[in-house]
C-alpha cells in the first residue's frame, strides 16, 4: 500500500510541476491543483497508513498503535480548505488576466506575432 501511495504522490507531483512550468494559465492552475493533491495525500500519509483504524481515541484505550493518528487528518483538512480557497482566487485572477490581455499566456503576451 505504501508503494502505491508513494507512486501516486510522485506521479501527481511530477505532472503538477511539469504543468506549472507551461506557458498557458490554464495549465498552470491545473498544475497547482495536482501539486496540492500530491501535498494533501503526503500530509495524510505522514501519520502512517492504516486500514479500518479508528481515528478518535475511545475512553480507556490502552494500545495507541491500534488507532490512526488524528492530527494529520486535521492538518490535511485545513490544508485542503486553504488550498481550495486560494485556487478559487487564482482562477478569478486568471480570468481577469485573460480578459485584460486578450490571451491566456502567463506573461500576458504571445510569443508569436
Amino acid at each position: 500500500m505504501e508503494a502505491v501511495l508513494a507512486i501516486a504522490i510522485g506521479a501527481l507531483a511530477g505532472s503538477g510541476v511539469w504543468l506549472l512550468l507551461r506557458p498557458r494559465t490554464f495549465q498552470v492552475i491545473i498544475g497547482l491543483t495536482l501539486i496540492s493533491y500530491a501535498v494533501n495525500l503526503f500530509i495524510f500519509s505522514i501519520g502512517g497508513l492504516r486500514v479500518g483504524a479508528d481515528p478518535v481515541l475511545a475512553d480507556g484505550a490502552a494500545d495507541l498503535s491500534r488507532y490512526a493518528d488524528p492530527l494529520p487528518q486535521a492538518l490535511v483538512l485545513t490544508a485542503i480548505v486553504i488550498g481550495f480557497a486560494t485556487t478559487a482566487l487564482f482562477l478569478v485572477v486568471l480570468l481577469t488576466s485573460r480578459g485584460l490581455a486578450g490571451n491566456d499566456h502567463v506573461d500576458g503576451e504571445d510569443g508569436t506575432p
Binding site: L20, S36, V39, I43, I82, V93, A101, V106
Partner: protein, 524 residues
C-alpha cells in the same frame, strides 16, 4: 501580565475587518475611523506586550489557546523579538493609513478590510509558536496581499499579481511538504517542543528533519525574495499602489524573521554537533548574491517604484547574510537595520507615488536611461534660477532623507543602524568580510541611484508637473521619516532593547522553558 493579551493583536484587526465588511462600501468614513481605532489599539497593545516582554531577560509570555498542553495545542508566544515586530508592523500600518485616505482607497471597494486582514496575518505569524499555525497565518496574510496587490486593477497589476499568486501558492506547497516531513519525524509541530527534540535525533530521522527544515526554509526564502527565488518582487511591488507596497515592505522581513527564529531555535549552538548551524553557510552566500543582485538592479531601475523594490532586495540580502552569522552582536545590529529599512523603504514607496504624474496612476515616476552624451556636467542650462513651490520642497527634503536612510549615510539613523550591523561583522571569516564590503558598496550604489533619480525628478526637468499632494499623504511620509529622525537622537533605550533581544533569541532555553515548562538543563 495577563496572558490573554497575547491574542489581542490578532483579534483586534480581525474584528475590525469583519465589521468593515458588514458596513459595506457606502459608510466610508465609519470604515476609515474603525481602521484608525484598530491601528491605534494595536500600537497600544504592542507597546504593552513589549513592556511586559522586556521585564527582565527571560520574561516570555505564553498563551495556550483552549488551555491544552503545549505539545498538542496551539500556543502564542510573546518574547522580545515578536513584540518588536508587532510594534513595528502596527506603527507602519498606522503611519501608512492617512496616505490611503484620499484617491488610493477609492481605486477599489475593499481597501480598508483587506489591510486589516493583512495585519491579522502579520501579527499571527509573529506571535505563533506552532509551525502549522504559522502556515495558516501566512495564508491569511497572503490571501489579503493578493487582494491588495490587485487593488486598482489594470493590466500591469493583474499580470504581476498572476505571477505573485502562482509563486506564493507553490511556496505554500513547499511549506506544507516541509511541515509534513517534520511532523512525520517528530510527531509535533510546536516550535519549542521541536527545539527540545532535535538534539536527540539521529540517523534517518535527523536527515528527514533537515530535509523538512530545508523545504520550510525555501518557502521563507521565497517570501524574503532571496536570489534565485526573488524575481517576483520588483514587478509585484512596483505594480502595487504605493500604500500597499509600503505595507508589503514588512513582508520580506517576515520571511527573515521566521528564518531568524527557526534557525536559532532548531539549529542553534546547542542543537548537537550534526545539526548546529545547519544551512547557515547557504543562507550567508544566498544573502550575498541577493545583495549584489539588488545593487545592480538599483542602478538599472527605470522607475522609482522599481528602485524602491530593489532597495527591498538589498535590505533582504543584507539581513539574511547577517542572520546566517549566528552572532548575537550582529543580530542586534541586524534588528536595528531591519527596523530602519522597513520604515525607510515604506516612506520611499509612498514618496515614489507622490512624485509620479497624476494621470500615470499605473506607474511610478519614470526615469530616463543614462546617456553620457546628453548628461554632460556643468551645462549652461544648469545655471537657471531655482524657484520651487513649497510642496516640492517638502517632497525633495523627504527624498533626501529617504536617500540618506537607505544608503546608511550620516547623520540619520540609517547610518547608526548600518554601523551597528557592520561593525561586529568583521572577524567572522571570509564570507562575513565579503558581506561587509558588499553592504558598503550597496550603500554607494544606493547613493548613485538615488542621486540620479533625484536630479532627474527635482532639478533636470523644469516643466515636470507634480501632482497636488493631499495632506494625508504628506502626513504619512513625514511620520515615517520622523520616526527614523527620532531614532537618530533617542538611541540608548531602543539599542538596549535590541541587544537584549539578540541575547534572548541566541539563548533559546528561556523560550523552550516558557512554552514547554520543562527544565532545559535536561537537554542531551
Amino acid at each position: 501580565m495577563n496572558g490573554a493579551l497575547a491574542i489581542a493583536p490578532v483579534l483586534i484587526p480581525l474584528a475590525a475587518a469583519a465589521v468593515q465588511v458588514l458596513l459595506g462600501i457606502r459608510l466610508r468614513r465609519l470604515r476609515t475611523g474603525l481602521s484608525f481605532l484598530s491601528c491605534l489599539a494595536m500600537v497600544a497593545v504592542a507597546a504593552m506586550l513589549m513592556m511586559s516582554a522586556s521585564d527582565g531577560e527571560g520574561a516570555t509570555l505564553v498563551y495556550s489557546l483552549g488551555n491544552w498542553p503545549a505539545r498538542f495545542a496551539i500556543v502564542l508566544v510573546v518574547d522580545r523579538l515578536s513584540a518588536l515586530m508587532l510594534l513595528l508592523t502596527a506603527v507602519l500600518a498606522l503611519a501608512v493609513l492617512p496616505y490611503a485616505l484620499g484617491r488610493w482607497q477609492r481605486m477599489g471597494p475593499h481597501f480598508q478590510p483587506l489591510v486589516q486582514l493583512l495585519l491579522v496575518g502579520y501579527n499571527g505569524a509573529f506571535l505563533t509558536g506552532d509551525l502549522f499555525n504559522l502556515f495558516v497565518f501566512f495564508e491569511v496574510l497572503l490571501a489579503a496581499s493578493y487582494g491588495l496587490a490587485l487593488h486598482g486593477s489594470g493590466a500591469r497589476r493583474v499580470g504581476a499579481g498572476l505571477h505573485y499568486i502562482a509563486i506564493n501558492l507553490t511556496a505554500s506547497m513547499l511549506f506544507l511538504i516541509g511541515v509534513g516531513l517534520i511532523f512525520g519525524v517528530t510527531g509535533t509541530l510546536n516550535m519549542a517542543v521541536l527545539a527540545h527534540l532535535i538534539p536527540g535525533l539521529t540517523g534517518t530521522p535527523r536527515a528527514l528533519m533537515h530535509g523538512g527544515a530545508a523545504l520550510l526554509g525555501l518557502a521563507f526564502l521565497i517570501k524574503a525574495a532571496v536570489w534565485p527565488v526573488g524575481f517576483w518582487l520588483p514587478r509585484t511591488y512596483s505594480a502595487a499602489i504605493p500604500p500597499v507596497a509600503a505595507l508589503f515592505a514588512a513582508m520580506t522581513k517576515l520571511g527573515i524573521y521566521v528564518i531568524l527564529r527557526l534557525s536559532l531555535l532548531f539549529f542553534g549552538a546547542d542543537a548537537g554537533a550534526a545539526s548546529a548551524h545547519f544551512g547557515s553557510e547557504w543562507l550567508l552566500w544566498l544573502g550575498i548574491i541577493t545583495l549584489v543582485g539588488g545593487s545592480i538592479g538599483m542602478l538599472g531601475a527605470r522607475d522609482l517604484g522599481k528602485l524602491a523594490a530593489y532597495c527591498v532586495l538589498v535590505s533582504s540580502g543584507t539581513l539574511l547574510g547577517a542572520v546566517a552569522l549566528h552572532s548575537p552582536a550582529v543580530t542586534a545590529g541586524a534588528l536595528a537595520y531591519l527596523v530602519i529599512s522597513v520604515l525607510g523603504i515604506a516612506a520611499f514607496f509612498l514618496l515614489a507615488g507622490l512624485v509620479a504624474p497624476r494621470e500615470a496612476h499605473d506607474g511610478a515616476a519614470q526615469l530616463e536611461p543614462y546617456d553620457p552624451a546628453i548628461d554632460a556636467l556643468f551645462a549652461a542650462e544648469d545655471e537657471r534660477r531655482v524657484t520651487s513651490p513649497s510642496p516640492v520642497v517638502i517632497l525633495a527634503a523627504c527624498f533626501l532623507a529617504c536617500g540618506l536612510l537607505l544608503a546608511g549615510l550620516p547623520p540619520l539613523s540609517g547610518f547608526i543602524a548600518k554601523f551597528a550591523l557592520l561593525a561586529p561583522m568583521l572577524g567572522h571569516g571570509f564570507g562575513a568580510a565579503l558581506l561587509f564590503a558588499l553592504a558598503i558598496a550597496a550603500g554607494l550604489c544606493t547613493v548613485i541611484a538615488m542621486a540620479r533619480a533625484g536630479i532627474q525628478i527635482f532639478w533636470a526637468d523644469e516643466d515636470r508637473e507634480f501632482p497636488r499632494v493631499e495632506p494625508g499623504e504628506t502626513v504619512s511620509v513625514v511620520a515615517l521619516l520622523g520616526i527614523c529622525l527620532v531614532l537618530t537622537f533617542v538611541v540608548a533605550a531602543p539599542w538596549n532593547y535590541l541587544a537584549a533581544t539578540a541575547r534572548q533569541i541566541h539563548a533559546p532555553g528561556h523560550y523552550i522553558h516558557a512554552v514547554t515548562g520543562q527544565a532545559t538543563e535536561a537537554r542531551p
